[in-house]
């Protein structure tokens, strides 16, 4: 039986500071921030490769013992101690050495590497949900006494966090229209530390002027955190425009199969190290089996996003002139106001399309009952089409006046187009409309 000493183990790419009596001052320490964590067995692709290639190959763990083509599931909570492990404790590089699965696990590193490669990031951290990713990021990158500017129509889970919890840890929050740059600028205070916005809003698909927001933030030393769940890195990579952190509810498009819950944050190693350290204290890491599912789902992300987007665009086009539809919300339609998004996304706007049915909420409820393919359920981004109404789900806690303020009008439906055949989806929707 192998002893710990004989065990080869996994060595991450992380370098050591090599502190000791021979170092006369801090300028002689060796460690620089390195991308990752990853081991030499995790597939690192050239950044010039295409999105589909990175989705398939980046981060795959090539097992040196078995030669397995896919990443094995490292279903283990703990890892054998070696000299390198003890050094990691002393020198403070525990993120780069497998020690304990809350700290890091090669399964997590595989999927993190894949997301980082897709986003153009140095590093990523996976979480047990999108909300774990958001909460951990907000706490990690702000201080007591800090101030956060976010959107008045931000996702309900995020809204509950910033409205109900942050003041309890002495952080202030201001809510603004995220498409109004002057309103964002007016909300900046001396203690403003973070802009927390969504790349494409839920459910009205308002596009964020991400470049302008990042420029404004830079002038004031404010960090920009973008929840890009609705767009995915196939459509938009906010880090390229100056955002500091990109967050996803990986439950949606990144995994894409409605069979697991996860979140991910990606960005520079500097900020991700802080987010990782906060995650250690709050918990919320992703277990290895879910990492396997997420990594498998991500391999087809580019293919799926193309199908989602084409279906949503076709639905938007078909409904825009339908007599029983009073309004359609989709970036592909003429007159879409947030033109910066059109330049960024180049035709891929994700799979959500929202529309208002003549006859208000009763007619919309009747319409959903008549659908045969699309499932009436919350969430989005799965291979199957899902449909729901904001007034009785995501925005049900708002008053009528608040719903009007954020633009949720009677009869509004959010349709998450899956990857089914386009004609089948269109027929399903048109048939249902005919029956109401």
């Amino acid at each position: 039986m192998a002893t710990n000493k004989q065990h080869v183990g996994l060595s991450a790419d992380g370098n050591m500071p090599e502190s000791g009596a021979q170092k006369s001052w801090m300028d002689q320490l060796n460690r620089k921030r390195v991308p990752g964590p990853r081991t030499p067995y995790h597939h690192k692709l050239d950044a010039r490769t295409g999105c589909s290639t990175r989705a398939v190959h980046s981060g795959t763990y090539h097992d040196p013992v078995s030669g397995a083509v896919g990443t094995p599931v490292f279903q283990s909570t703990t890892f054998l101690f070696q000299d390198k492990t003890y050094d990691a404790f002393f020198e403070g590089v525990t993120r780069d050495v497998p020690i304990y699965t809350r700290y890091g696990n090669p399964s997590q590193w595989s999927v993190q590497e894949k997301v980082a490669a897709l986003e153009g990031a140095e590093s990523a951290v996976v979480f047990s949900s999108g909300m774990a990713a958001i909460a951990t990021t907000v706490y990690a990158l702000t201080n007591r006494g800090g101030h956060i500017v976010t959107s008045y129509d931000v996702y309900g889970g995020t809204y509950n966090l910033v409205r109900e919890d942050l003041h309890q840890s002495d952080r202030e929050v201001s809510f603004v229209d995220p498409t109004d740059l002057s309103a964002i600028e007016a909300a900046i205070q001396q203690n403003t530390q973070m802009f927390l916005f969504e790349g494409l809003s839920n459910p009205l698909l308002k596009g964020l002027p991400v470049k302008s927001i990042c420029e404004l933030a830079r002038k004031h030393n404010i960090l920009v955190v973008i929840d890009n769940t609705f767009l995915s890195p196939v459509a938009s990579r906010p880090l390229e425009f100056g955002a500091d952190i990109v967050i996803h509810s990986a439950t949606k498009y990144l995994n894409g199969h409605s069979d697991m819950t996860a979140g991910v944050a990606s960005g520079s190693r500097k900020f991700l190290d802080r987010i990782w350290a906060q995650m250690l204290r709050l918990g919320g890491q992703l277990d290895p089996n879910s990492c396997f599912l997420l990594e498998r789902g991500l391999k087809t992300l580019a293919l799926r996003m193309r199908a989602h987007s084409e279906n949503a665009t076709a639905i938007a086009s078909a409904l825009d002139s339908h007599p029983k539809i009073t309004r359609v919300y989709h970036p592909s339609l003429p007159g879409y106001e947030q033109t910066e998004l059109l330049d960024i996304c180049k035709g891929n706007y994700g799979g959500v399309v929202s529309f208002e049915i003549e006859g208000g909420d009763p007619a919309a409820l009747a319409f959903m009952e008549k659908l045969e393919l699309a499932q009436v359920a919350t969430s989005l981004g799965g291979v199957e089409s899902l449909v729901s109404m904001p007034f009785n789900t995501s925005h049900s806690s708002l008053t009528e006046r608040q719903r009007q303020q954020v633009g949720i009008r009677p009869g509004l439906i959010r349709f998450s187009a899956g990857v089914e055949d386009q004609n089948d989806l269109l027929n399903d929707i048109l048939n249902a409309l005919e029956q109401i």
Partner: protein, 353 residues
Amino acid sequence: MKNGVSIAGMSEIMHEIKGDTAEGIFSYAAWSEWSGGETLAANVAPAVIGTVKSSRGFGWRVALGDKAAVSDVCQSDWVFLPEELALAGLGSCALLTMVKGASTRGSSLEHLCFKVKAVCHRQPEDKVVTALTDFDYRVEFEADAAGENQMFQEILTKLSNHSPNHRTIAEANTVSLCQPVKAEIAEMAPVSAADSQTEIRVDVHWEYGFQLHAAYADGLRRLKIDQPKQAGGIDKGANPQEILLASLVACLTRTLVAHAEQANILLDGVRVDASGHVDMRGMLGIAPEVPSKLQNISLNFSLDSHADQSALHDLIYRAAESSPILRLLVEKQRIALHLYRGETFITEFISEG
């Protein structure tokens, strides 16, 4: 982790600053406010650590007179003197530098305390403080066997060359008045030989990591000190540069109110803002030509009064010229350092500009 300090974190920040000088500019600010009564409020404003803002919610009550206030019931009743804050700022900066030096060399500290003393000069009649001089650090440490005495002597020497607040008082500085008057203060009138001299003292104790506390002679008042979490701390208290700037704004507010009273100028309120930055390349030893000290120290004043503007401007000049903390920053100071392992004397030397 060594001594609660992430060696990797220190190393990464150092290399990041080496690669991008903007990451090495740590900007700090403090402000004070008085609107009547016997005390003023001295507060810390948000800092910018490299390119990232850090919100800082720390503040103290400071006496307008010459007496601190102590309560064993309520910490919010504690009242400090500007000179006490200044000594805490100096001792804590030196101590933190020593913790970083020992951690870099792989030595585990068991105990570290800086006992900081200075001579406080006062006008004989009205007890107004005019200057702080003759600084003295008694450094007491205990460490594991890896931390040889020779190593700590070398760290103490490094500290005297690199600790930002130590360098700030050891060297001469120019302080800028920006609003509403513009002036550069690079020298002060000599202190009167007739001033009385008393000793002022604070003991700065290391707790763990970058967390420290300053303890005063009354045995009750304590001041928590830490680095921002963006700089490796956990936000338990203000950092040494912030405390030094807070002592400066508190001192200037105190002298403004005193001079206004003497000149029969009615003040309804006073606010003084101070800012400065440390270029961490100096402290980290990355660039020998870069000063380690607090740089670009600048001041803004806002006086709420119906008095005419020229009288108020004159008041600001007079307050600046007579502020003992401003003098501390402008003039070179002499600092004696004594190193003890437990009670055993190891070495001593004088640090001068």
